[in-house]
C-alpha cells in the first residue's frame, strides 16, 4: 500500500514540480531536497486529495516535511 502511494506521489511531484520521479524517496524533504516551493506544495496537496480522496488541511501541510510524512498521512487517512 505505502509503495503504491509512494509511486503515485512520485508521479505527482514529477508532474507538478518537474522533479525526476526516482528522486522522490521517503527520506527526501520537499523543500530542501526536491526544491518543491510553497506554491508547488499546494499543487501536490490538491493532486493527492484528488487521487486518494483524502482531505489534507492546511494545518497539516506544514507537518508534511518529507515524502515519508506525506505517504504516512495518506496511508492513515485513505
Amino acid at each position: 500500500m505505502s509503495e503504491d502511494i509512494l509511486a503515485g506521489l512520485a508521479g505527482i511531484v514529477n508532474e507538478v514540480a518537474g522533479v525526476p520521479a526516482e528522486d522522490v524517496q521517503l527520506d527526501k524533504s520537499f523543500v530542501d531536497d526536491l526544491d518543491v516551493d510553497s506554491l508547488s506544495m499546494v499543487e501536490v496537496v490538491m493532486a493527492c486529495e484528488d487521487k486518494w480522496g483524502v482531505k489534507i488541511p492546511d494545518s497539516e501541510v506544514k507537518n508534511l516535511k518529507t515524502v515519508g510524512d506525506a505517504v504516512k498521512f495518506i496511508s492513515a487517512h485513505v
Binding site: E15, A17, E43
Partner: protein, 410 residues
C-alpha cells in the same frame, strides 16, 4: 556623457518561424502565417482565422515550465533565451541588467482556464500559479528571474503599442545610466473564444474565413480587419561601449523614440493622424535625424480600413515629401497582429532590414488602395542602399497610444 544604445541580440517566436532566423527568412520570402482555426470554440466565431505560433511552446519548454507559465510568458521566455544566447550570454553585473517586457492583454488564457476550474471543481482547485500567470508583468518577471536582472523589471502597457513602448523604456534605462544591458520586447498569446469574440464585436478582425492566407492585407482596397497573431520578440539592448568592450556583434543602433497620445477615441485612430505624426517627429528629433534619413518604414499597418489610412496620413504629415523615398513594409500581412508583441517583432524586422539592406515584402495586396500615398513593398522585397541609413517602426494601440521608434544601421 552620451550613452548610445545598440542591439546585440535578437529572439523571436512567431506565426512564421520558431526563432529569429527562420522568422526573418520567412518574412523575406513573403510567407503568410494565417490559418483556419481548429478548436471547437472557433466554430461559431465571426473570425475563424488566426496566426498561431509556428512552433508550439510545449515543443520547446519543459513540461513544468509550461504548467507554471501562461502561454504569453512561455513565448517571452523562449524568445528571451534565444536573444540572450545570441548576444553571447553576456557577463554583466546583475544590478546593471534590466528587463522590460510588455504584453497588451496579459494572461487571459490562464484566467479563462482558472474560471473553468472554479466553475467545475470549486475554489479549492484553482491553481496557486494562477495569479502569476495572469498578471500583466508576469512575462517580464519570468524573464527577469531567468537572467537574474536586478536593475529593474518593467512592463509598460499600451495595447498594441506595448512592445514598442517597452523598447523605448528599455533604451531610456540605458541612456539614463540605470543599466548597461536590458532585455526588451513584447509578447502576446490570447487566442481564445472570449478575446476573439470581443475583437470581432468591435469589427476589428478580418472575417475572410474562406481564405485565411490572404486575410491580412494591409493597403489592399478590400482589407477588412486585422488577423489575431501570437508570439514574442525580444531584443538585447546594450550600451555601446559595454558592447564593444566585450566584442559583441552589433546588429544596429537604437536611434530614438517618440511617444504621444491621441486624446480622441478609445478604439478609433485620430483620422488626422496628429498624435502619430508628432510621435514620428519626436522620434526623429530624439535620433538626431531628419525625414530625409528614413529609408525604410515598418508600418503598424494592421489591415483595418481606418488604421492603415490614418497611419499613411500621419507619415505624410511627419515626413512630407521625404516619404517618397522610404520603402514601407506591412509585415503583419505575414505574421498577423501580435498585439503587445508586434512592436518588438517589427523593431527586429526593421533592424534586420537595415543590416541586410532589404525591406521585407507586404503581401496580399491585390488591388492597392490608391488613397495610401506611400511607397509600399507590394511587389516583393526591395533592396535598400548602402551607407548610413535609418528605419522607422510605428506602433499604435487602442486607447490612442502612439509610439514611433527609429533605428540606425551600423
Amino acid at each position: 556623457m552620451t550613452r548610445n544604445v545598440v542591439v546585440t541580440g535578437i529572439g523571436m517566436t512567431t506565426p512564421i518561424g520558431g526563432d529569429a532566423p527562420s522568422t526573418w527568412a520567412a518574412a523575406l520570402a513573403g510567407t503568410p502565417g494565417t490559418i483556419r482555426l481548429g478548436p471547437d470554440w472557433a466554430a461559431d466565431q465571426p473570425a475563424q482565422i488566426a496566426a498561431m505560433m509556428k512552433v508550439d511552446p510545449a515543443e520547446v519548454l519543459k513540461p513544468v515550465e509550461v504548467r507554471r507559465m501562461d502561454r504569453s510568458e512561455q513565448c517571452a521566455l523562449i524568445a528571451s533565451r534565444e536573444a540572450w544566447a545570441d548576444a553571447g550570454a553576456p557577463d554583466v553585473d546583475p544590478i546593471r541588467l534590466g528587463v522590460v517586457v510588455a504584453s497588451g492583454i496579459g494572461g487571459i488564457n490562464s484566467l479563462i482556464q482558472a474560471y473553468e476550474t472554479l466553475r467545475d471543481k470549486g475554489a479549492a482547485r484553482v491553481s496557486p500559479h494562477m495569479v502569476t500567470m495572469i498578471m500583466p508583468n508576469g512575462p517580464a518577471a519570468m524573464v527577469g528571474i531567468e537572467v537574474g536582472a536586478r536593475a529593474g523589471v518593467h512592463t509598460p502597457v499600451s495595447a498594441c503599442a506595448s512592445g514598442a513602448e517597452a523598447v523605448s523604456y528599455a533604451a531610456k534605462m540605458i541612456e539614463d545610466g540605470r543599466a548597461d544591458i536590458v532585455v526588451a520586447g513584447g509578447t502576446e498569446a490570447c487566442m481564445n473564444g472570449v478575446t476573439m469574440a470581443g475583437f470581432a464585436a468591435m469589427r476589428a478582425l478580418s472575417t475572410r474565413n474562406d481564405d485565411p492566407a490572404t486575410a491580412s492585407r494591409a493597403y489592399d482596397v478590400d482589407r477588412d480587419g486585422f488577423v489575431m497573431g501570437e508570439g514574442a520578440g525580444i531584443l538585447i539592448l546594450e550600451e555601446e561601449d559595454h558592447a564593444r568592450a566585450r566584442g559583441a556583434k552589433i546588429y544596429g543602433r537604437y536611434g530614438g523614440s517618440g511617444l504621444t497620445s491621441d486624446g480622441h477615441h478609445i478604439a478609433q485612430p485620430d483620422p488626422e493622424g496628429a498624435g502619430a505624426a508628432r510621435a514620428i517627429t519626436m522620434a526623429l528629433a530624439d535620433a538626431d535625424l531628419s525625414p530625409a534619413d528614413i529609408i525604410h518604414i515598418n508600418a503598424h499597418a494592421t489591415s483595418t480600413p481606418q488604421g492603415d489610412y490614418a497611419e499613411s496620413v500621419a507619415l505624410r504629415r511627419a515626413l512630407g515629401g521625404q516619404a517618397d523615398h522610404a520603402w514601407v513594409s506591412g509585415t503583419k500581412s505575414m505574421t498577423g497582429h501580435l498585439l503587445g508583441g508586434a512592436g518588438a517583432v517589427e523593431s527586429i524586422f526593421a533592424i534586420l532590414a537595415l543590416r541586410d539592406r532589404i525591406a521585407p515584402p507586404s503581401i496580399n495586396i491585390f488591388n492597392f488602395d490608391t488613397s495610401i500615398d506611400l511607397q509600399v513593398t507590394k511587389d516583393g522585397p526591395v533592396q535598400l542602399p548602402a551607407g548610413d541609413i535609418a528605419a522607422l517602426n510605428n506602433s499604435f494601440g487602442f486607447g490612442g497610444h502612439d509610439v514611433a521608434l527609429v533605428f540606425k544601421s551600423v
